[in-house]
C-alpha cells in the first residue's frame, strides 16, 4: 500500500523544491531480502525531500539531489516489514538495505505498477500475497480468498467453496485464471471454481463492478489469480510443496520446475503439477461421511520474449472428484424435516477415502495463447485467446444400477478473444479493446433425467475504452463499454417439440473514479460503477427438482410452471455501486476502511411462490424473479506492528442487504465478522529464520437479517410469498486458530515449515453460508503441516 502511494507521489512531487542549495549528491544502494536476493520494486523514500526512488530489477536504486546532511529513509516493499534508516550523505557511499519478510497472513495493498492496467485504481482491491498463499497451501481457492476483508465464501460442505464479494457470487463474480476468464458451470451454488490454487503466486480481489474491462460477469467483482512471471534465466529452479491435514487425513503435493533455454535467454518454460487426496472430514461429534476429495492437476507454459515482444502459450488441466455429504441428499421435505429434527446426519460411517454417490466429477482443460508487442508511439498491443473445455458430471443415488450413470452431465466449450491497445502519454494512460466470446454448452445424452438447464450457444462481442489521468495528487479515471450478446437455447417441450428460443441483449457499462493522495500516508479513493448484466441461461430456463435443497426451481421464462415466450418480461440486471476507500499508513501502523452502497435494479434471485404436490410429496417451488435490491456495507482492517517482535491485526466486515421491492431480506448474505490476530516473530533462532507464532480468533456473528423460518413440515400450509429458510440462522461462533513457522536453510536452498491448528477448541458450530448446515455441523479441529522447499539456489 505504502509503496504504491510513494511511487505515485514521487511522480507528482514538485520539481521546484529541490533546486535551492548545492544539493547534487547521489547515493546508490541495494535492496535485498534476508538471503541477499535483490528485491525489485521496493520504495526508498526520503521523507525530508518528499521524494524517493524505486529499486530496479537487480534491487539497485539511486537517490539524487541530496544535500550533504543526514536524512531519514523509509524503505517499503509489499510483503516485507518497513525499514527506517538514517542516511548520512557525507559518509555513505553505497547503502545495503535488508528487508525482513512480514509473516502477516494477509497484506492489503493497492497495486499499481505491473497491475496498473488490470483494474481501476480508484476501485477497492485486496490482495492475498504470496506469503499468505503459502501459509494456506492445500486449501481451495474459495477458502483462500475468504480471508480478505469483504470476501466470504458460500459452501456446500467441506470441499465446495465459492467466493462471495460483498454479498454477490456465482454468475456475478468473474474469476480470471492466469488472464483468462474461468468458464465453467459456475452458475450453481455447488459449482466450485475449477482452479488449482498452486498455480497462484498472488490473488487479487476487486470489490466493485469491473464490467467495463471484463464484461457483464464482473458485475459483483473479480478474483484475479496471478501466476508468477516466467523467468528467462538459464538455470532450472522450482519448488516443492507438501501439505498434510489431520481432518480428512488429507495430503497435498505439488511440484513446479521452471527455467530457460540456455542459448539466448529468450525462451522460458514452466511445468507444474499437484495432487490431492482426502477422505471423510469430521465434525467434533461425528464423521461427515462421504466428503472425500481427489484432485490431479497439471499445467505448463512456454514463453518467448524479445525486446518489446512477448508471447506465451499456457495449458492447464484440472481434474477432481469429490463426495457430497451422504446425509445431505434429500428425497423430499419430510426427509429434510427429519434431518433438522435429528440435529445430526442420519448416515455416519467409519472414516474412508472412498467417494460414493452423491459425488461430482469435474474436468477442466484450458489453452491460453497470449502475445503483446509495443507498437511505436501507439503503445502496447495485447492479444489473448483462451479456449476451455469443462466437463461436469454429477452422480446421484439412483435405482436399478444407475449409480454409475451421471444424473447431470454438462459440457461447456468456450472461446474467448481479447485484444487491447494500451497507450500512455505522460499523465494520461488508457486502454481500448475489444473482446469476443463464443460458448457452447451441452447436456451430454444418456443421463436418463430431464436436464436442469437447456443446451445453448452464446456469442458475445464487446468494445471498451478506459482512460486514467494523473494530476499531481489526483488520479482520475473513466471508462465505458458496450456489449451485444446473442443467445440461442435448445430444449424440448412435451418431449416431442424442439424449440430454439433466441435472445439478443444489448448492454452498456460505465465507470467513474478518483483518488486523492493527501500525503504519502493517506489516500482516499472513490469509484462509481454502472454495470449491466443480462440474465444467465440458468436464470432464464432452470427447471427441475434440486435434491440438495429439496426445492423445485423455475427460471424467469416460466410462469406457474409453464414456459412463456414473451421476452419483454426479462430485463437486464443493472447495478450502481459506489465504493469509497480510505487508506492510511504510518511506519508501524496501516489501516484501511471501505464503505460501499450497491443499488441493483432487476436483481435476479430465487423466491418461493407456491407449494406443489408430486409423487414424492410436497415441494416448495422457487421462482427466479427480478427485484430492486440494495446492498450496503463496510470492511476494515488494521495492522499494527506493536514492537519489532509483536504485531497485531484486526479485520472485519459488515453487510446490509435488502429486497427493496418486496420489503424483505435477501437470502445467503454473509453475516458480520471480525478477526483478531496476534503474532510474535523472532528474526533468528539458531539456524532458523523468521520464526513466528500466531494466534487468530475469528468471530462470526449470527445473521440477524436472515429470512423467516418455515420448517419443511409447515411448507404445505405456507401461503405467504415472503422469502423463507427451512431453519433459523445458526448462532454466531468464535474459533481459535494457532500457527507457527520458520525458514530452515538447507545448503544454498531453503525449506519453509508451517504448522497450524484450526478450531483449537474443537467447537461445534454451523455456518450460515454453508448450504449443508441443515444436515451437519461444520468441520472440527484440524492440525496441518506445510513444507515448502525452494529449488532456486540462493
Amino acid at each position: 500500500m505504502r509503496y504504491s502511494i510513494l511511487v505515485l507521489l514521487s511522480l507528482c512531487s514538485n520539481p521546484l523544491m529541490a533546486q535551492r542549495l548545492v544539493c547534487d549528491h547521489q547515493v546508490s544502494g541495494l535492496v535485498v531480502d534476508l538471503d541477499g536476493q535483490p528485491l525489485p520494486g521496493a520504495t526508498v523514500w526520503v521523507e525530508a525531500l518528499k521524494q524517493g526512488a524505486v529499486s530496479e530489477i537487480d534491487g539497485s536504486f539511486l537517490l539524487k539531489e541530496l544535500c550533504l546532511e543526514k536524512y531519514i529513509l523509509h524503505v517499503k516493499f509489499v510483503g516485507y516489514d518497513d525499514e527506517v534508516i538514517t542516511l548520512d550523505v557525507a559518509s555513505q557511499e553505497k547503502l545495503l538495505i535488508k528487508l525482513t519478510p512480514n509473516v502477516n497472513v494477509l497484506h492489503d495493498v493497492v497495486i499499481e505498477g505491473d497491475h496498473a492496467q488490470q483494474h481501476n485504481l480508484s476501485q477497492s482491491v485486496s490482495v492475498l500475497s504470496n506469503e499468505a498463499i503459502n501459509a494456506n497451501r492445500g486449501k481451495s481457492l474459495g477458502e483462500m480468498v475468504a480471508q480478505l476483508p469483504g470476501v466470504s465464501v458460500l459452501m456446500t460442505g467441506p470441499t465446495i467453496f465459492k467466493p462471495v464479494i460483498h454479498g454477490l457470487h456465482s454468475q456475478r463474480i468473474l474469476i480470471l485464471n492466469n488472464g483468462i476468464r474461468q468458464d465453467g458451470q459456475q452458475w450453481g451454488i455447488e459449482h466450485a471454481p475449477e482452479i488449482d490454487p498452486f498455480i497462484a503466486s498472488e490473488i487479487e480481489v476487486v470489490k466493485g463492478a469491473e464490467t467495463v474491462r471484463y464484461g457483464a460477469d464482473a458485475i459483483g467483482g473479480v478474483v484475479i489469480i496471478n501466476a508468477p512471471p516466467l523467468t528467462e534465466t538459464g538455470s532450472i529452479g522450482g519448488e516443492l510443496n507438501l501439505g498434510l491435514m489431520s481432518n480428512g487425513r488429507m495430503g497435498v503435493f505439488s511440484g513446479m520446475l521452471e527455467g530457460g533455454f540456455n542459448k539466448n535467454q529468450r525462451w522460458s518454460w514452466r511445468l507444474q503439477s499437484s495432487v490431492k487426496k482426502g477422505g471423510d472430514f469430521h465434525a467434533p461429534d461425528y464423521n461427515l461421511s462421504n466428503t472425500g476429495v481427489e484432485e490431479l492437476n497439471f499445467s505448463g507454459a512456454i514463453g518467448y520474449k524479445k525486446n518489446d515482444t512477448k508471447a506465451e502459450v499456457y495449458i492447464s488441466s484440472f481434474n477432481t472428484e469429490l463426495g457430497i455429504l451422504r446425509s445431505a441428499h434429500t428425497g423430499n421435505l419430510e426427509d429434510l424435516q427429519n434431518s433438522i429434527e435429528n440435529g445430526e446426519p442420519w448416515y455416519v460411517a467409519d472414516f474412508t477415502y472412498a467417494i460414493d454417490n452423491p459425488r461430482q466429477k469435474i474436468n477442466h482443460q484450458l489453452l491460453k495463447v497470449s502475445a503483446s508487442k509495443k507498437i511505436g508511439s501507439w503503445g502496447k498491443l495485447d492479444f489473448v485467446y483462451g479456449g476451455q473445455l469443462n466437463k461436469r458430471k454429477e452422480y446421484d443415488i439412483r435405482r436399478a444400477g444407475r449409480n454409475d450413470k451421471p444424473a447431470l452431465s454438462l459440457e461447456l466449450f468456450s472461446n474467448v478473444i481479447d485484444v487491447a491497445l494500451e497507450h500512455s502519454s505522460g499523465k494520461l494512460t488508457g486502454h481500448v479493446g475489444i473482446n469476443a466470446s463464443f460458448k457452447n454448452s451441452n447436456n451430454v445424452p444418456g443421463t436418463g433425467i430431464d436436464p436442469l438447464i437447456p443446451n445453448y450457444n452464446q456469442y458475445t462481442g464487446g468494445i471498451f475504452w478506459i482512460e486514467k489521468l494523473r494530476l499531481r495528487r489526483w488520479l482520475f479515471e473513466a471508462g465505458v463499454r458496450f456489449d451485444h450478446q446473442y443467445l440461442q437455447t435448445l430444449m424440448y417441450i412435451d418431449k416431442t417439440n424442439l424449440i430454439k428460443p433466441e435472445f439478443n441483449f444489448n448492454y452498456a457499462s460505465g465507470t467513474l473514479g478518483a483518488a486523492y493522495y493527501f500525503n504519502d500516508r493517506l489516500r482516499l479513493s472513490s469509484n462509481l460503477g454502472l454495470a449491466t448484466r443480462p440474465p444467465h441461461v440458468s436464470e432464464l430456463y432452470s427447471n427441475g427438482l434440486h435434491h440438495g435443497t429439496a426445492a423445485i426451481e423455475e427460471g424467469l421464462m416460466y410462469r406457474d410452471g409453464n414456459l412463456i415466450t414473451d421476452q419483454t418480461a426479462i430485463k437486464n440486471e443493472f447495478s450502481k455501486k459506489w465504493i469509497t476507500t480510505l487508506q492510511w499508513a504510518k511506519q508501524n501502523v496501516s489501516m484501511e476502511f471501505t464503505a460501499y452502497s450497491n443499488w441493483i435494479d432487476n436483481f435476479v434471485y430465487l423466491r418461493p411462490y407456491t407449494t406443489r404436490l408430486t409423487i414424492r410429496g410436497y415441494f416448495p417451488v422457487f421462482h427466479y424473479q427480478q427485484t430492486s435490491a440494495w446492498l450496503a456495507g463496510s470492511d476494515f482492517s488494521l495492522n499494527w506492528q506493536v514492537t519489532k517482535e509483536i504485531s497485531y491485526k484486526v479485520k472485519g466486515s459488515y453487510l446490509y442487504a435488502r429486497d427493496v421491492s418486496n420489503r424483505d431480506v435477501l437470502p445467503f448474505m454473509p453475516p458480520a465478522q471480525v478477526e483478531n490476530r496476534l503474532s510474535y516473530t523472532w528474526p533468528a533462532v539458531g539456524k532458523l529464520q523468521n520464526v513466528y507464532m500466531g494466534l487468530s480468533i475469528p468471530i462470526v456473528l449470527r445473521q440477524y437479517r436472515a429470512p423467516i423460518t418455515v420448517y419443511p413440515e409447515d411448507v404445505p400450509e405456507y401461503d405467504d410469498d415472503k422469502i423463507f429458510d427451512f431453519m433459523p440462522a445458526p448462532d454466531g461462533y468464535v474459533l481459535v486458530n494457532l500457527e507457527a513457522g520458520a525458514n530452515v536453510p538447507v545448503g544454498k536452498r531453503q525449506l519453509t515449515i508451517g504448522f497450524s491448528i484450526n478450531n483449537l477448541g474443537n467447537v461445534s458450530y454451523r455456518n450460515y453460508m454453508n448450504r449443508l448446515r441443515y444436515y451437519a455441523d461444520d468441520v472440527g479441529r484440524n492440525f496441518s503441516l506445510r513444507l515448502k522447499y525452494d529449488l532456486h539456489a540462493h
Binding site: 441428499h329 434429500t330 428425497g331 423430499n332 419430510e334 426427509d335 427429519n338 442420519w346 448416515y347 507498437i375 511505436g376 508511439s377 501507439w378 498491443l381 492479444f383 485467446y385 443415488i397 439412483r398 435405482r399 436399478a400 444407475r402 466449450f413 472461446n415 478473444i417 485484444v419 469476443a436 463464443f438 457452447n440 451441452n442 447436456n443 445424452p445 443421463t447 436418463g448 433425467i449 430431464d450 436436464p451 443446451n455 450457444n457 456469442y459 435448445l490 430444449m491 424440448y492 418431449k495 416431442t496 424442439l498 427441475g544 427438482l545 423445485i552 406457474d560 410452471g561 409453464n562 406443489r612 404436490l613 408430486t614 409423487i615 414424492r616 410429496g617 415441494f619
Partner: protein
C-alpha cells in the same frame, strides 16, 4: 510507428479476428439434442385392495404425469371406503407410464434396499407386511390391511424409502424418499 506498420498491424488483427470468428462458427454447429427418456420417473402408484373373505375390490391410484412439473396429480377415489371388520390383501404397483415401464420389478429386484412405510392417520386401519427381503426384513409391496370400527375420513400415507446398504427394517429409518403419496380413507360399516 509509421503508417505502413499501422496498416500491417491492423490488417493482421482483422485477419486473426476473422479467422477466429470462423473457428467459432465452425465449432458452433452443434447438433439438435435428442429428447430425454426419463428413466427413473414414477408416474403412478396403484394399490389394489382385495378383501380376503370376499367383497368388493378397491383400487387406490395416484397419477402424476409430469414429475416435478406444474401439472396437478390425480388421486382416485376421492375417499376410499374400506369396510369395517374386513382384512384386505394389498398389492402395490409402481409405473412409469411415460416410458411404459413397470417400476415394481425394479423395486422387487432391489428389495434389500427398499422399504415401504405406511402411516394411517385418523382412521381405524392397521397395516402389516406380508413379504420380506433376502435378509428377512419387510418390503411392503404386499401387505394386509386390517380394518377396525367405522369413523370419519382419515388418511393413509405411503412412502417408499430408498436405503442402499443401510436398510434395517424400521420406518422411516435411514435413506431418502422416492415416493410419498397420501390417500384419503374412511372406514364404513
Amino acid at each position: 510507428m509509421n503508417q505502413h506498420q499501422l496498416i500491417t498491424t491492423a490488417r493482421s488483427l482483422v485477419f486473426t479476428t476473422t479467422a477466429l470468428v470462423s473457428v467459432f462458427q465452425f465449432s458452433s454447429c452443434s447438433e439438435d439434442p435428442e429428447p430425454t427418456n426419463e428413466e427413473e420417473l414414477i408416474t403412478t402408484v396403484i394399490i389394489d385392495l382385495t378383501p380376503a373373505s370376499g367383497g368388493d375390490d378397491i383400487q387406490l391410484k395416484f397419477y402424476d404425469a409430469d414429475g416435478s412439473g406444474a401439472g396437478a396429480p390425480i388421486i382416485t377415489p376421492d375417499v376410499a371406503q374400506l369396510v369395517s371388520g374386513k382384512v384386505y390383501e394389498a398389492q402395490i404397483t409402481l409405473l412409469n407410464e411415460e416410458a411404459g415401464e413397470d417400476i415394481t420389478e425394479e423395486i422387487d429386484e432391489e428389495r434389500n434396499d427398499h422399504l415401504f412405510c405406511f402411516t394411517p392417520t385418523n382412521t381405524n386401519v392397521t397395516i402389516g407386511y406380508s413379504d420380506e427381503d433376502d435378509n428377512g426384513r419387510p418390503i411392503g409391496l404386499s401387505t394386509y390391511w386390517t380394518v377396525g370400527d367405522a369413523g370419519e375420513a382419515g388418511n393413509v400415507k405411503i412412502t417408499l424409502r430408498h436405503q442402499p446398504g443401510t436398510k434395517d427394517g424400521s420406518c422411516p429409518g435411514s435413506g431418502d424418499t422416492d415416493v410419498e403419496v397420501t390417500f384419503p380413507v374412511q372406514v364404513v360399516d
